[in-house]
């Protein structure tokens, strides 16, 4: 999403990220990745529960797809250099939503496992199409 910041901003689309942990780790994350959009901290999981984010099962840790994604992330340095990035809610997975000013949700994605992420290009396309986008 970071790579689409300028395009989305120019089209009037906002972006925000939510993570668990604490503010210092969130600030470090925001600086490290050059994020210009809000990065919210939700260690009480209020928004995670509202969107019904799934929790991983122990089997996820031995899923070949998950292991591959973990190795890729570690080798790329994507999860290094930030103190305690995982925090105490390591079993909570992610989600992606596009929400319009009228409250409609044209895109909703709830991760099924650690490697199950939404397609960024698809999300951007949905956000840029229709009211509130371009």
């Amino acid at each position: 999403m970071r790579d689409h910041q300028e395009q989305l901003s120019a089209a009037g689309v906002s972006v925000a990220a939510v993570g668990t942990g604490d503010a210092p780790v969130a600030r470090e994350f925001k600086v490290k990745y050059g994020l210009k959009f809000p990065v919210l901290v939700d260690d009480a999981l209020l928004s995670y529960r509202a969107v019904q984010v799934k929790r991983s099962s122990q089997l996820n840790w031995v899923n070949p797809k998950v292991l591959t994604a973990s190795v890729r992330a570690l080798s790329s340095g994507a999860i290094s250099g930030i103190a305690s990035p995982i925090g105490k809610h390591a079993d909570f997975l992610g989600a992606t939503h596009v929400i319009r000013p009228d409250g409609s949700v044209p895109f909703a994605w709830i991760n099924d496992d650690f490697g199950d992420n939404s397609d960024v290009d698809e999300v951007v396309e949905v956000a840029l199409t229709g009211p509130g986008g371009s």
Partner: protein
């Protein structure tokens, strides 16, 4: 693939949640889409 049908009342349940931003400023999530379409990403972790 996990694209799902959104909860019909998602904007109501999520909109009232207020969270601190990385700089400490508190933000009501619903305010983020009041004027513009919002892409909201829930991360597994900051990393």
């Amino acid at each position: 693939m996990s694209r799902v049908t959104p909860q019909p009342d998602l904007h109501e349940k999520l909109g009232s949640v207020t969270l601190p931003e990385a700089d400490g400023k508190r933000i009501r999530i619903g305010d983020l889409w009041a004027q513009h379409t919002l892409i909201l990403v829930h991360l597994r972790h900051f990393g």
